[in-house]
Symmetry: D2
């Protein structure tokens, strides 16, 4: 597996040149286009790594898996899905149109920005710091890495340039989709998007979700099997923006991507895979990262669909 | 004319019961549903009044006529219409969808909220206070009333509850439709919407625009004929929200309404008409106010279409 | 007036090169890009002409004025506006989206294709030939030209290539917007769009509508003043596709255009103007024709807004 | 397994009362609301059945799996996905809006009506009868049932009432999405939607797709593993209309539903499941049928997500 992983990362490296690093948040624009790394954590606790597997980057949308898990754990399925839907949309992740067109104005799923902002708003903690502590704690348990933290530069950069997310949040506020101070809610959102991880962390996180909530590395029970099933299903149908359908066809495993360049994949009962490559396609998914997963699926049968 | 006006106001008074005062801004919700007044200012400087013609209320969207006029005067037609369009939309005045759907994301006209926010942003003054002074000054010249001012309670109420306008403004900011601090720009917008006038003030304002920019009361030249033509044309095609087409058919004169309950009408070469009645129809136009204009048009031929 | 008209047509002729003839109906594509003509019919029965004022072309959307007038006459305002609205839309004339988005699925106004198809469906005659006879008869009365007829080549060309209109009509049929055989209804629509007129015919038609329904040339009473007011108002707000707002600002008179290159304008109490120039702008309005109207408005005060 | 299946069907039977049979096609409206049946075909060729497992009903949208498979086999992946996309949409299956809004106007996936109409148009056979023969032949191979045929009453009923599909098809024709005679293309579409099967047929079909193309009953190789992977992935992401996300969460297996009341599920390497219950939820999926699949997933672990 170690050799396969190394060869795959090497073979996919040229794909980095076909993408572009995210530019809408200035800090993200500083990433190295050619960086590429991957890690596999199997359910027995073995970890295989290749390339820039330990380079840190921000989770961005991958952190939505954490807030969804936390919300399901603290509030239960019924409350969570009364606030956000379960359906994919064909619109970009930051579309307001979709939200305005539908009545009621309920975000279609927890992985588009509006859905994640709603989740950030309903987490039942006393204040923003408590919310963020709980999110960090959950992320550390899922990855088994207690040193995970928020990257302050990226967080501030998001906060100062997040006009589109402000537009979404104020729209939600105007239609009772969220309750409370909009800037406070966005602050949690910007912070959790800015948590820093490595491909190796994502691999363990994927394995924990693959193993129905038991971290195979720390052997801790982090989530219930029911929550993991919901998370994996939503990763398949809407985990990679408006490219989720193509991911299901080409890669065939539950995946969640972020514009920081990471993709976390979770093969039930088998393993978690983390990839990192900040060069993105036009939809916001890591180009070379997706190619690594596709090769693993195609040539090694690592797929469930 | 005095008698006609009095009879018309009286005859239309029952229509007040068919509407509802605006509720989305708490301060507006306090208005008296049954209030109704009207004034006519002809181009010779005569003024006729009836009912609650001197009751004060906030201009709301009628103030967009002022900012459009000021922008045209200070920046010229070419710059203004490179920033906002000239076309009516079938969507409500606060729709973001329309803005997101079109490329480029340019507000369709200066009388929908997004268009007026763009105009507030480009007025060429050193700071917000200077902008607001210029807007107040222009409003006083158009109405011939030097005591016009901002209603602070309504202004604060708008500022604290304007989430939908914030959503629009942040969307515009995220797509380079506006430049600069969003809250600052919105502050000007909320302030000019909160300027307080009477139906009589609106009548004189309408007469000034009808008389190609010359205030028939103060005899001051306030605007150029070209600007007045543009303003009148846009009042016909998009002056009364998504009811503009019906206004053109039923009333047949250039009108601009506001959710404060006012309507300002302008009959070129003839007169201005101001009406006030805070009970609104579902589109945000004064029900009884529209009925007054319709009766004046039908029974006295006061129409141009 | 004769001299003004001739000079205006000559001065606007270079604008022909900036437009393109309609290509979506093959027969229309054969038109001469450089053709340009105009005619004015005043309310005293005088007619002034210039350029290709007597060249024949198909009415296309201008015929919607005829069917609207006929529907209002035969069925009354209430029935007509229970079937189509009065509001402009910001979408192209053949948009289905707009129709699908709104509930109920009622065409926004009688001058977009869906609205005109609905009108064609409700005209109360025994069969298609009777409908078409009534439409032709009304057109002949409005223009005072008894030789007006359908251009069979254009009609067949529209019929064979009208997929987008078929899409609209079947959508309307599926939502109970129209009742009856779709192809039969479309047949009437395609036929009335293919009626052939000259700029001179349009001038007299415009004058008849300007004169509250009395044809100043034949002295016949064709329409009621009420119907003419409705028609003029809708010409202002939605007579020239999604360019109606700009027409109101630049030209300031009620106008109805067609992709055959014609524009019919109607100045209440003053005159009708017909222009013909098949080179169109991207919205489907005659480029040089619009320029002729703009010059007449600007330099000779022929405007009402 | 036999007992489990019988108990599950019995337990889910009360759910029939919560749905409604499809009414937009008159023939479908005649179905028995309380009918309910299910069948499981495992990859070893065993078949378990319960309830109305052998009642015939029309495939409707389930037939889109057949045309997609056939198109992939005859034309290859590249051509097929140059004509239709792979992404789920949040709009109903017959939405035109989505199609109009996107440029190019390419159907989002092969399982919405517009996508299936495009596939019907590109199948490379000499005429409609040859197309239909190929589709029938493929369906018979997938189900191992050589007596499958078109229900003529339903086919004629669809043909006479299919206005919405006509609207879609003419829209596609007007934007070069389909080429050729629209009514001919629709005829194939209406015919393949009207093929009649039983729940047992769907179980074998699902097993064939689960077994990478080998019919475990007839032992015939019908499709390639690559095609089966694509089909299964699209079944997960967009197989059950705008309820696909919820199906993935609640049921967790690739499913394809039809408004005739059938659902075909395919568990890779394990089994196919066919259910039949014509009482539908508001999205068009069998209510009790979905409940059967959910119970099998929940209580017997028959899920892959």
């Amino acid at each position: 597996m170690q050799m396969i992983l190394e060869q795959t990362v090497k073979a996919c490296s040229p794909w980095c040149t076909t993408g572009k690093v995210a530019s809408y948040i200035p800090e993200l624009g500083k990433a190295d286009t050619m960086a590429l790394g991957a890690a596999i954590a199997d359910v027995k606790g073995n970890i295989y790594t290749a390339g820039d597997y330990d380079q840190l980057f921000t989770m961005q949308s991958i952190s939505k898996v954490v807030t969804l898990s936390l919300a399901l754990m603290e509030l239960g399925e019924e409350i969570v899905f009364s606030k956000v839907g379960m359906e994919a949309v064909a619109d970009p992740f930051n579309s307001i149109m979709r939200l305005e067109m539908d009545k009621p104005h309920k975000p279609h799923n927890p992985f588009i920005n509006s859905g994640a902002i709603v989740l950030a708003s309903i987490l039942p903690y006393s204040d923003n710091d408590a919310k963020m502590d709980a999110i960090l704690d959950m992320t550390r348990q899922l990855t088994g890495n207690t040193s995970i933290n928020v990257n302050k530069e990226v967080y501030m950069s998001e906060k100062f340039t997040g006009e589109r997310n402000r537009a979404l949040a104020y729209f939600l506020s105007s239609t009772q989709g969220i309750d409370g101070d909009v800037e406070e809610i966005l602050d949690v959102y910007f912070r959790h998007c800015s948590m820093e991880v490595s491909a190796k962390d994502l691999a363990v996180m994927g394995a924990t979700i693959a193993e129905d909530g038991r971290n195979p590395y720390t052997e801790e029970e982090v989530l219930s099997p029911e929550i993991c099933r919901i998370v994996r299903a939503l990763m398949v149908t809407c985990g990679t923006y408006d490219g989720s359908g193509e991911f299901a066809v080409r890669i065939g495993m539950p995946c969640k991507s972020g514009v920081g360049g990471g993709i976390m994949a979770s093969l039930p009962g088998m393993m978690g895979i983390g990839v990192f490559g900040p060069a993105l396609d036009y939809r916001g998914n890591s180009v070379a990262g997706a190619r690594i997963l596709e090769m693993l699926a195609e040539e090694n049968g690592l797929r469930i669909l």
